[in-house]
Symmetry: C2
Subunit: 394 residues, 2 copies
DNA sequence: CGAGGTTCCTTCGCGATCGAACAAAGTTGA
DNA sequence: TCAACTTTGTTCGATCGCGAAGGAACCTCG
C-alpha cells in the first residue's frame, strides 16, 4: 500500500533546517520564497540553509516554476535516493510496520501478528525481522536511516524504556531503544503509540492547527495532547489519560486500575466485547465488534453508539478545558460512523459554543496508518535534523 | 499590607535580559554564576546582559557575597528607585488594586467596591482613581511605569478588548487597553483574571514547576492552564473552562449557558448561596458563605464540602489528562479548609497513581493577592523587557 | 519595446547566544 | 607557605537568525 505524502506543517520551533526539509518533503513549499512565507522566517535565512542542504545533497534544484507575476521561482525537491526509515506501531496482538522514504512518502505497510504479551525480546525481534523483509525491495538502492517504534504503554522517551505498563507483561523497565539500536545500527526513537498518532494527525492535517487532541479508541482508550505545536507529555509522562475518568453511566464495573466506573469499563473495545458476550453474542476481539457494527447488526451498533456517547461525555470536559483547534478520532472504533457521530453529537451539545465554534472533529485523516505515519515522520525529522550526518552516511 | 517578594521562576522562553531581571528581583539569583546556573544559559551571555543592565541603571553591584569554596561572587540587586506599576484585579462587585515596585515587591494593596455591572467607563475610572490615590505615597520618588488589569471574563489579549462576557453588561467589545493607555500614559496589559492568577501562582511557587492548573473558586469557577511554562489560551482564547462541565449530581438545575447539570450550578459560591437561601439561611453573597463556613456552621460547611467534591470530580478528568506538577486552588472558597480537603481527597481517589505521585495540590500560595501579583509580575516583566526604554524614562 | 512594477533570491551588516579558553579571586591541605 | 583545586567572571571566535538593500528575472501596460 502506498499513500501520497500529505501536506504537513513542521513543528513550531524545530531548527529551521529541519523545518525546511519537512515542508519541502510534504510538498507544501516548492521554492525559497515559499519557505520564507510559510515559516515566517527571513528570506536570507532560508537562502543560507537551502544552500547548505543542497551542498549536503539533501535537496535538489529542479528547473524553474511558474511565474506569479515576477521572476520565476527555482523549484526545490528532496533528492529521492536519500534513504528510508522503518516505523512500527505495536498493538496488543498485532504490529503495523511501514517503510517510509526520507521524502515522507509511505512506501509500504504491512500488518503482522505480534503478541506483545510474549515479552519484549520476542516481539521486537519479530518487528525487526518483518521490517527487514519489508524493506528488502528498497534495500541496496536506499539505505536504512532510522527506526521508530510506538508502544501501547507509558514510555520514558529520554531513556527509551517502558515504564510500568498495564498490559505488557515482561516489558517493565526494558531498554527498548538500546536493544533495537544495538541490532539495527541506526538511530532509534521509542514513544507511546497514541503520542505518535497525535503527532501524525496533528501535522498531517491539511489546515494549520495549533492545539489538538487525538483519541485512539480501540480495545483500550488513549489520547494525546498537542499544545502550541508541541506534544504535551505532562509532569510524569502520563498525560493524555482519559481512560480512567469516571463516567456516571458506568455503574459499578471494576476497572483494572482498581476503581469503579472508569470510562474504559464501558466504552473501550474490550468492554463492548464483554457486553456482547454477556448477551450471548459470539465475539472475542474488538475487530469482531467492528465487523458486526460495520454490518449494522443492531446489538453491536447500539453498544458502539453508546461507547461514543460516553467517550464524548469525557471529551467535553477535556475540550472545554483545552479549547483545541481539532479533535482527531483514531483507533478501530473510530472507523465506525455511528461512533464518530455520537462523539460529535456529545461534543456539540456539551461544550461551550465559543469552543465548538471553529472546532474540527474528524476521524483520523491518515486512517489506520496514523501511528506509523507519526512514527515515520518523527524519525525522518530526527534523521534530517543534521544534514551533515546525513551526508556522511550517504 | 506588604508581602515579601516570593521566589519566582521566569517564563521559559522570555528574552534572557528580562529573565535576569525577574530572577534577581525575586531573590532567586544573586550573582552572575547563579543566573547562568538557574537559566541554563552560557556564562558569557549572562555577563554581557548584566553589564548592559548595570549600564542602563536597572541592576546594581553590591559588595561581595560568601565564598562557596572559590572566588567570592559579586552580588547583584535591582536598583530600588526604579519605579512602580499598578495592578488591578476586578471581580463582580469589588476590585483589588495594588502597587508593585519594579523589584517585584508588593508595596500596597487595597480592596474597593467597584460594580462591574456599572459598565466599563465607570468601573475603570474608579480603578484609575483609586490606583492613583494608592500610589500617591510612592509618587514623586518613583514613577508609574505600567498598568495591568485582570477582568472576570474572556479577553482578547492582542487587542486588549473584552469578548462577549457572561456577566459584564456593557463591556462587550470595549477597548479596555486603549481606554486605559490613553488616560494613564503608560503600557497597559489586560487579561483574564484567572489567567493572571495562574501566572502569579505558577511563577510564585517556590519549587520548579513546568505544568500547572490553577482554579479560582469564588462566586464563579474558572481555571487556567500553564503548560511548559507558558499560558495556554486555546484556539479561541476560551481555554480553562471547567465551569460548564457536567456533573452527575448536579441534577436538572438550568445554567446560564442554557444547559443542565453544569458544575457551576452546584459548586460555585453563587450556587451555595442559592442552596442556603432555599433552606432559609440568610445569606446573599459568597463572602457570607465563607464567613459562615469559617465559623463552622454545619449547613454552610456541608455545602462547601460538597462543592469541593464536585469540583474535584471534574478536576480528576482534567488532571488525569494534563498530568500537571501542581494544582493551585484560589478564590474565596479555597480559603476554607473543608473545601480544599475535599478537592484533595477527590483527586487522590480519582486520579491515576502515576499522576498524583508527585502532584502538589495546594491553596493559592499568594492568597487573595494571587491575581494582582500575577498582574504586577506580568507588567513588571513587560516593562523591564527593554532596559533601554526603561532608562529613557528614568 | 521599454519603463515600471512584481516576485525571487542573494549580499551584507547586526545582534543574540554558545562554547572554549582564560584570568581572577578564593579555599584547602600538606 | 605554596601548590592544587574551586568558583567566579570575562574575552574571543563561531553560529544562527534578522532585516535592509539591491540585483536578477519576469510580467504588464502604455
Amino acid at each position: 500500500m502506498v499513500v501520497d505524502p500529505a501536506p504537513a506543517q513542521a513543528a513550531a520551533d524545530a531548527p529551521v533546517t529541519s523545518q525546511i526539509v519537512a515542508l519541502v518533503s510534504a510538498g507544501v513549499a516548492t521554492s525559497r520564497a515559499d519557505l520564507a512565507r510559510e515559516l515566517g522566517v527571513a528570506p536570507s535565512t532560508v537562502s543560507a540553509r537551502v544552500t547548505e542542504l543542497i551542498d549536503a545533497g539533501v535537496l535538489d534544484e529542479g528547473g524553474a516554476g511558474e511565474s506569479r507575476g515576477g521572476r520565476r521561482p527555482r523549484l526545490l525537491r528532496l533528492r529521492p535516493e536519500g534513504g528510508h526509515v522503518l516505523a512500527a506501531d505495536l498493538g496488543g496482538t498485532h504490529a503495523r510496520i511501514a517503510v517510509m522514504s526520507l521524502t515522507g512518502r509511505l512506501e509500504a505497510v504491512r500488518e503482522v501478528p505480534v503478541e506483545i504479551a510474549a515479552g519484549p525480546e520476542t516481539a521486537l525481534a519479530a518487528v525487526l525481522a518483518e521490517g527487514a523483509d519489508l524493506a528488502t525491495p528498497f534495500a541496496p538502492a536506499s539505505a536504512l536511516r532510522g527506526l521508530a517504534v510506538g508502544l501501547p504503554g507509558p514510555v520514558d522517551v529520554e531513556t527509551g524504556r517502558v515504564e510500568s505498563p498495564a498490559r505488557m507483561p515482561g516489558w517493565n523497565g526494558f531498554p527498548v531503544r538500546e536493544w533495537l539500536a544495538e541490532r539495527a545500527g541506526v538511530p532509534v526513537l521509542v514513544d507511546n503509540d497514541v503520542n505518535l498518532m497525535a503527532l501524525g494527525e496533528h501535522f498531517s492535517y491539511p489546515r494549520r492547527v495549533q492545539h489538538s487532541v487525538t483519541v485512539k479508541a480501540g480495545s483500550g482508550i488513549g489520547s494525546g495532547l498537542i499544545a502550541s505545536g508541541r506534544l504535551h507529555r505532562g509532569a510524569t509522562g502520563a498525560a493524555g489519560d482519559i481512560t480512567h475518568s469516571r463516567v456516571s453511566a458506568a455503574g459499578e464495573i471494576p476497572c483494572s486500575c482498581g476503581k469503579l466506573g472508569c470510562l474504559e469499563t464501558i466504552a473501550s473495545g474490550a468492554a463492548i466485547v464483554r457486553q456482547l458476550r454477556d448477551r450471548g453474542v459470539d465475539v472475542s476481539t474488538t475487530a469482531d465488534v467492528v465487523r458486526r457494527a460495520g454490518d449494522a447488526e443492531p446489538e453491536a451498533t447500539t453498544l458502539v453508539r453508546e461507547a461514543g456517547r460516553h467517550l464524548g461525555e469525557v471529551l467535553c470536559t477535556v475540550v472545554n478545558f483545552v479549547n483545541p483547534d481539532a479533535v482527531f478520532l483514531g483507533g478501530a472504533l473510530s472507523t465506525l460512523e455511528p461512533f464518530v457521530a455520537s462523539v460529535r453529537s456529545q461534543l456539540y451539545e456539551g461544550c461551550h459554543p465559543l469552543v465548538t465554534k471553529n472546532l474540527v472533529i474528524t476521524r483520523a485523516t491518515t486512517g489506520p496508518e496514523a501511528g506509523v505515519i507519526g512514527a515515520g515522520r518523527l524519525v525522518v525529522q530526527h534523521v534530517l535534523a543534521d544534514p551533515g550526518a546525513y551526508l556522511l552516511r550517504g
